[in-house]
């Protein structure tokens, strides 16, 4: 049976619509224009420019002719691109997972009541607070083959010296470990904040029901940390893949490009090789990779509600 519409209501709705149309006020939209222009200049102009560069030949001085997807095609044929893509994923995977585990362990520890807790909370934030240049240069001294503390200890144990920055495998380990060291305080801080808002009565109820510590952690703590964990993971993946300073200051992507991620590759192509088109193509592909990863994780988060 077709749906009947009350003619009086229909007349009223039409009248309201006309009133709305006639009372259109342009001022609010005009007031929004400066903000929109600012967003366009800051966000979209560089992006559009980047896309435009990526489909043109050219150098830092002048944009060359249109090459369509030629730069992307060259990139897909370059072993350097796959090497950087692979290292970016390895770097992000280990950084996100290990810094999360360390951050979670420390957050659980700092959530306990013990003397000196305040000091520990501040002290554990130091890796996050110290400027990247300072911390990375300090690490370079620590792991130096001659006179570095780590190698002095390893040598005294008969295990060294290890040439951390001179061998591809060890250089990857060094870059990842230092990134984890710089990242875990963020994980710790966010998780600690999330832990502190969990209702204590839930744990009391659990204990009354006979749950042990592991069951309390698994069934109460972890579910409450799920949302913040997904947000943290998204942010940390973005920050890891976009990380320029850690590999650049430590190894400059070497030795043998073993620690070169997509951002370093984009930098090398643009400023080293003077090929802005190829460098921009790497940057655009990095953006696409990050968008795919972020969207997947956000969908995962949405499903959990």
């Amino acid at each position: 049976m077709p749906l009947e519409v009350n003619p009086r209501l229909q007349t009223e709705a039409t009248a309201l619509s006309r009133t709305r149309k006639s009372s259109f006020q342009p001022l609010p939209y005009l007031l929004l224009l400066p903000s929109l222009a600012l967003i366009f200049i800051i966000e979209f102009y560089p992006f559009i420019n980047g896309v435009s560069f990526s489909i043109h030949k050219g150098n830092l001085l002048s944009t060359g002719g249109f090459v369509g997807l030629g730069n992307y095609w060259r990139l897909f044929q370059s072993p350097g691109f796959y090497n950087a893509l692979w290292f970016s994923f390895v770097f992000a995977f280990f950084n996100v997972s290990i810094s999360y585990l360390i951050g979670l362990a420390l957050a659980l520890f700092l959530n306990l009541d013990f003397p000196g807790r305040g000091f520990c909370r501040v002290a554990l934030l130091i890796p996050w607070i110290v400027p990247a240049v300072v911390s990375i240069v300090s690490w370079k001294w620590l792991i130096a083959d001659r006179g570095g503390l780590v190698n002095i200890i390893l040598s005294s144990l008969g295990l060294g010296p290890i040439y951390f920055l001179s061998q591809s495998g060890w250089a990857m380990v060094a870059v990842i470990v230092i990134k984890i060291w710089r990242s875990f305080p963020f994980m710790m801080l966010s998780l600690l904040a999330a832990l502190q808002v969990i209702d204590r009565t839930l744990y009391e109820a659990g204990r009354i029901d006979g749950a042990n510590n592991w069951q309390l952690f698994w069934n109460i703590t972890l579910p409450h940390l799920k949302n913040i964990s997904i947000v943290q993971a998204i942010l940390m993946v973005i920050w890891s893949i976009n990380d320029f300073e850690t590999p650049f200051l430590l190894t400059q992507g070497g030795p043998s490009n073993a620690t070169e991620n997509l951002i370093l590759l984009s930098y090398r192509y643009t400023f080293g090789r003077n090929d802005v088109g190829l460098g921009s193509a790497v940057a655009i592909l990095t953006l696409i990779v990050l968008m795919v990863l972020s969207t997947t994780m956000m969908r995962q988060q949405a499903k959990s509600f």
């Binding site: 830092l60 350097g80 001659r146 040439y163 001179s166 400059q252 070497g254 043998s256 090398r268 400023f271």
Partner: protein, 429 residues
């Protein structure tokens, strides 16, 4: 009280016209019209006193030429290329500048450089060119134009620790064969002492260039195509790979930078290194224990090392090319102070400067000028002239990666194959 009437528009206009004419006719305005301001950007080529000397020279020029004021700006090497292209792109390029070895040709191809053909032609006819070391003028000829004027030579030479060689009863090597034998004798891995210490940065890649050129090889064919996998080149690379395989090269070398390499050399963790001239001045504590090897003789009797002829270039955007050339000419003839007072470690291209007691009296510098400069070659070898892509080849880091591969003991054939593909890709862009 009645307010005074504002002056009518015609009176105001008359005032403006009269004032403008008076200003234009005044002696001050005449001086301002004839006076020329030039911007000179000079890279930092030496210690802090280099900059002071450059400024003092410019002040002297300004005093001698009241109608020209040259403004001296010291430009750091960090992001040097971006500095220049940004300036050119925004229309604020200097009138003239010093720069990297191949900067002039790269910017010339982008229509930013003013050729110096007339100046060179004039100097050729009046004999002024005779003061320049052979080849240093013509090396900067590109597409039949002289794109810059040389001022200094940057070169790589072999330094060795006299004390370590004496302790090991090793004579300074003169051939590759002797070099290999010396390295073996000098190496004592347990004591962290090695025949060589190298590095994985730009200086490290110059090891490869030096060995390749020393062996009569070159990175390019005559028509500027990649030729890395030629027999002579591979033989040179294999020589380094063999030294690494025999543990004669400090194993930390692949991750070292210039400073680390020099530090290891100072501490005796490497007895022989490749470096720019002036190293003994940089290391006063061990300067009496250091020597420079004679240019080595390769297995086929060749000699060679890498060098760059650094230069001064004029920019098309400059509004006063005549005055800029006048300053360039003056600078080229008066810049001896850059060595005697500024202590720049590069070698002068002018024979008259090289004859100065400050330079001629320095045994190390004289030795390098006499022995290394005549056998030195550019990275463009065997191409018939230098070309813009050389900058991209150096900047892209292909040779650095190849050096790091070899210093880590990776397979020569696979490494050369990978590097050749990268090199071809750069040249084909």
């Amino acid at each position: 009280m009645k307010a005074p009437h504002p002056p009518p528009q015609s009176t105001l206009l008359l005032w403006i016209v009269v004032t403008s004419i008076a200003l234009l006719l005044s002696p001050f305005a005449g001086q301002a019209k004839d006076h020329v301001d030039l911007q000179f950007w000079d890279m930092i080529w030496g210690p802090p006193e280099y900059i002071d000397t450059g400024k003092a020279l410019v002040a002297q020029f300004n005093q001698e030429h009241p109608n020209i004021t040259v403004n001296y700006r010291s430009v750091p090497w960090t992001n040097w290329y971006q500095t220049f292209v940004t300036a050119i792109g925004s229309g604020t390029a200097p009138d003239l500048s010093t720069g990297a070895g191949y900067q002039a040709i790269q910017l010339y191809d982008q229509d930013a450089i003013l050729p110096l053909d007339d100046l060179i032609s004039e100097w050729k006819s009046n004999g002024k060119l005779d003061d320049f070391l052979p080849g240093t003028i013509d090396i900067l000829k590109y597409k039949d134009h002289y794109v810059a004027l040389p001022w200094a030579i940057d070169i790589r030479v072999w330094y060795y620790r006299k004390d370590l060689l004496e302790q090991a009863h090793v004579q300074p090597p003169t051939t590759w064969q002797e070099l290999k034998a010396a390295a073996q004798t000098l190496t004592d891995a347990k004591a962290n002492r090695y025949g060589f210490v190298a590095c994985g940065d730009t200086l490290g890649s110059q090891w490869l260039f030096t060995l390749i050129l020393n062996n009569g090889g070159g990175l390019f064919t005559k028509d500027q195509k990649a030729d890395l996998s030629s027999a002579r080149n591979v033989e040179a690379l294999q020589f380094l790979a063999d030294l690494v395989r025999n543990h004669d090269v400090n194993p930390a070398s692949a991750g070292y930078h210039d400073d680390d390499e020099v530090s290891a050399f100072t501490q005796g963790n490497g007895a022989i290194i490749l470096h720019a001239p002036g190293l003994s001045r940089r290391l006063p504590k061990i300067s009496d224990k250091m020597g420079v090897l004679k240019p080595l003789v390769g297995p086929h009797g060749d000699q060679g090392t890498i060098y760059w002829v650094n230069n001064v270039m004029l920019y098309k955007q400059g509004k006063h090319p005549t005055e800029a050339k006048e300053f360039l000419e003056w600078w080229s003839e008066h810049e001896k102070d850059l060595w005697t007072k500024g202590h720049v470690t590069q070698l002068p291209v002018r024979k008259s400067f090289a004859a100065d007691p400050y330079i001629a009296g320095n045994a190390e510098t004289s030795f390098i000028i006499e022995n290394y400069v005549p056998v030195a070659k550019t990275t463009a070898t065997h191409a018939t002239e230098i070309f813009p892509k050389l900058n991209d080849v150096e900047g892209e880091g292909v040779m650095q990666t190849l050096t790091q591969n070899l210093l880590q003991g990776k397979d020569v054939e696979a490494s050369v194959k990978e590097a050749s593909a990268r090199l071809k890709s750069i040249l084909e862009d």
